[in-house]
């Protein structure tokens, strides 16, 4: 307090002195010397105060509640993506060597699978550089191939380019592998330009305003914005300079600045009493529907709020697709402002977070931060609407009659074959036409139609929460939606359907934080079963739309599941197939005699070399599964599940 009083006293004394001098009671003979002293003092004060401005000016950053939590895109780490192609040798190699080894492994992997070469042929092609049209990529991966000589202009351009030769080599090699890996005849074309080496790190913005539970209004911070810091200093500087140079214009310019400096300190930020009211277009939308949100902000206090900045707490799982969920305004007492925006519903139950309110005083020099709660919930659950075309199942079946056509002959509706008559064959299946024509007895065989016993198995491990762009619907979301609709289709056809998941849960390790059992619903049919299925899919924590924090010990879960399956159970596995484990899950189930069909939502992208290689890796896994006799339904990001199943039904086994 003493400092302030001191300055205040000094100010008052000087003012009084000025009055005395001005009224002529006492006159100070002011010389050039004292003017210079005063001027220099002011200049020094100004400079020292100005230097304080550096670095103090900051302001509260705001979160991004408009966006959803981020899920990675396959191929986040180039090292891991390349590592999946590399044979584990165990010995230590330097990183660059490991990259080259991994890429060489990748070349062999794609050549053996998609070009029909043996490993030896592939290795020879790799050494001679015949495998690709890109000479530089060939030279990068093989020491026996010389780099093509380039024109001087290109070499100069390369020297000026910041990217190193090594990175360019990796990008070129990755693109060349992709040319083979996507399949040369495939519709999915390789982009003309090379993908980037790595993506610019997107700064991770927070998608929630706060994670705290708030009731009513809660003040969290009050801070000085240092908005006007320095204006006083510059003003004093100008006054000093003006006095020195005896220029009244400059002194006056300084005086104006002093006025602003005073303004900066004159106000106290008001404590807002703000009332929020939120209305939704619908509280239970279907996933993918647009929901209109209307937020009314009312100033309940009796004072003017000159500066209110409000950011609505849009749930982490929802994306704002239209309008803005934030507003900056001034509010008179009792006045209100309405904020309108649209969110796109995603699967799950979403609670709105408290809104973040920043208020400042009129001069913007002090800022207060408040959280104001306004509870609203959007619940969007998957809808079990049957798909028009049949679910691509394997042709094995349970012993009950149903609609799944099997390969076995017997009674049914679709013609299968004609065989010799055996005693006790039913009369209605004897080919009477043939008997009339030739006198021989023959029996018609039809495809037997049986009910399938299907377990819909979802891969919800952490590694499956992937999306082509960070804000897009991730693979687990798509899987859950498709699983619901698939089950509805199967149940409608009289098949028995069960539900299971491999994902984070308690059973794997008692110490983990989650407290729920893995999801298991034994195959069944009927209305009650359908309701159970729907509820589990909507609320079981394993199907959470938020990515889990830890990896899953899937091996134990898989073993438990396998014990629960009866011998004729077939498995419909929903997995993005972006890591080797997903491949192993499918293979293990198949090996234990459960026919597996994989429905694989494609989350891959090709903005970077790593993502491109991850896409190639996924295609290799798909190929390996299909080679092992496990059908894989590839589900592109643009397609709906109806289109995919219709395409499968039409016989296009891509």
């Amino acid at each position: 307090m003493s400092v302030r009083t001191g300055w205040l006293a000094l100010g008052v004394v000087t003012f009084l002195g000025a009055l005395i001098v001005l009224t002529g009671v006492y006159s100070v003979g002011i010389g050039q010397g004292s003017l210079i002293v005063v001027g220099c003092g002011l200049l020094l004060g100004g400079v020292s105060a100005l230097s304080r401005r550096r670095g103090v000016r900051e302001q509260t950053g705001t979160p991004d509640p408009e966006r959803t939590y981020h899920v990675p895109t396959p191929g986040t780490s180039l090292r891991e993506t390349i590592g999946q192609f590399r044979q584990a040798t165990g010995d230590y190699t330097v990183m660059s060597r490991r990259f080259v080894d991994g890429l060489r492994g990748g070349v062999v992997a794609v050549l053996t699978r998609f070009e029909g070469h043996s490993v030896e042929e592939a290795t020879t092609q790799l050494e001679t550089g015949e495998w690709t049209a890109d000479k530089e990529a060939a030279a990068f991966l093989s020491e026996s191939v010389d780099r093509p000589s380039r024109p001087l202009r290109k070499r100069l351009a390369a020297a000026l380019d910041r990217e190193t030769m090594f990175r360019v080599g990796i990008r070129r090699a990755g693109a060349s592998i992709a040319v083979v890996g996507y399949g040369r005849e495939s519709a999915r074309s390789v982009p003309d330009s090379l993908p980037k080496y790595e993506e610019a790190d997107e700064d991770e913005r927070n998608s929630r305003t706060t994670t705290k539970q708030i009731t009513g209004t809660e003040q969290s911070r009050r801070r000085s914005t240092e908005y006007w810091t320095g204006v006083g200093a510059v003003a004093l500087f100008a006054v000093g300079l003006g006095v020195l140079a005896e220029s009244s214009a400059v002194v006056l310019a300084g005086v104006v600045g002093v006025g602003y400096a005073g303004f900066a300190r004159a106000f106290e930020p008001p404590v807002p009493e703000i009332d929020l009211e939120r209305t939704l277009g619908t509280e239970e939308p279907e996933p993918g529907d647009e929901v209109d949100v209307e937020l009314t902000v009312t100033n309940e206090s009796g004072r003017l709020l000159p500066d209110v900045r409000l950011i609505d707490g849009v749930p982490a799982g929802l994306n704002v697709t239209d309008g803005a969920a934030r507003v900056g305004t001034a509010l008179r007492p009792g006045e209100s402002v309405t904020l309108e925006y649209t969110v796109t519903a995603r699967r799950g139950t979403h609670d709105f977070d408290p809104a973040l309110v920043l208020t400042r005083d009129l001069s913007r020099s002090t800022e207060q931060e408040f959280y104001i709660e306004c509870e609203t919930t959007v619940a969007s659950n998957p809808v079990l609407r049957p798909i028009a075309s049949a679910v691509p199942l394997r042709a094995t079946a349970a012993s009950f009659s149903g609609r799944l056509q099997t390969a076995d002959g017997g009674s049914g509706t679709t013609f299968h074959s004609v065989r010799e008559y055996r005693r006790n064959d039913p009369l209605n299946r004897i080919d009477w036409n043939r008997h009339a024509r030739t006198g021989e007895l023959a029996t018609l065989e039809f495809h037997e139609e049986r009910a399938a016993r299907v377990v819909v198995l979802l891969d919800t491990r952490k590694a499956s929460y992937l999306a082509p762009t960070p804000d897009e619907r991730h693979a687990v979301d798509r899987s859950v939606a498709a699983a619901g609709r698939t089950a509805a289709t199967l149940l409608e056809n009289g098949d028995t359907v069960g539900l299971a998941a491999i994902g984070p849960s308690r059973s794997t390790k008692p110490a983990t934080s989650s407290t729920h059992d893995p999801c298991w619903l034994a195959p069944g049919a009927g209305r009650h079963h359908r309701v159970q299925f729907e509820q589990l899919l909507a609320s079981h924590p394993q199907f959470s739309p938020v990515p889990p924090e830890r990896e899953t010990h899937w091996y134990g879960q898989l073993r438990t599941l396998r014990r629960r399956f009866t011998s004729e159970t077939q498995v419909l596995l929903f997995s993005p197939l972006c890591d080797p484990e997903s491949l192993e899950i499918a293979q293990r189930l198949e090996a234990h005699g459960h026919p597996v069909t994989v429905v694989s939502p494609d989350p891959t992208a090709e903005r970077t070399t790593a993502q491109q290689l991850a896409r190639v890796g996924r295609r290799i896994r798909r190929f390996d599964l299909q080679r092992a006799g496990i059908p894989v339904v590839d589900w592109g990001p643009e397609e709906t599940i109806d289109e995919v199943f219709a395409r499968m039904h039409a016989g296009d086994q891509r």
């Binding site: 000025a18 303004f263 900045r309």
Partner: protein, 177 residues
């Protein structure tokens, strides 16, 4: 998904540029040097406003102010210098305001009302301060002793510092609470 544009808001930004232009022109009438330095500052300020760069806004405004001071030292017109000062402070203030709003709320948010309040309050403060200062100047030029005027200005400066320390004290208390 529409991405937030965390760039300076347009209304405050354009008023800031307008203020800066006024400042540069007013300074330029008095002296050629003032005009040149002012244009340099104007370019820096405009760059800062387009890119949302605080440092550039600070430096640009300061440069314009240097131009204003130079023109004030050379020129004769007190009124133009005062007008130019208001312009440059306005440019600096609203430039920062636009950056703040852009970073906190983004260009998509509805902020025009808030910006209008800021623009009007800033202009008013400048006008009031200029009127008071100009009044003292007129008063002083009626043959009042220079020492008295200097003492008056010093008194104002000390009072500002005193108010400032009280402000910081409050702030410190607030943080401790």
């Amino acid at each position: 998904m529409n991405e937030l544009t965390r760039q300076p808001t347009t209304l405050s930004g354009s008023v800031a540029v307008a203020g800066a232009v006024v400042a540069v022109l007013a300074a330029g009438i008095g002296s050629g040097y003032g005009l040149g330095i002012g244009f340099l500052g104007l370019a820096t300020l405009a760059f800062g406003l387009i890119r949302g760069h605080r440092g550039a806004i600070d430096i640009g405004s300061l440069t314009i102010f240097v131009g204003v001071v130079v023109s004030g030292l050379q020129g004769e017109s007190v009124e133009l210098t005062v007008l130019a000062t208001i312009g440059v402070v306005l440019a600096w203030d609203l430039g920062q305001d636009a950056t703040d709003l852009g970073e906190q709320l983004g260009r998509e948010a509805e902020t025009r009302r808030l910006e209008a309040v800021h623009i009007i309050s800033s202009i008013l403060i400048g006008l009031v301060a200029a009127t008071v200062g100009y009044g003292v100047y007129i008063f002083a030029s009626d043959g009042q002793p220079v020492a008295g005027v200097v003492l008056l200005v010093l008194a104002a400066a000390f009072l500002v510092v005193a108010l400032g320390s009280s402000h910081r004290r409050n702030n410190w208390k607030g943080r401790n609470r």
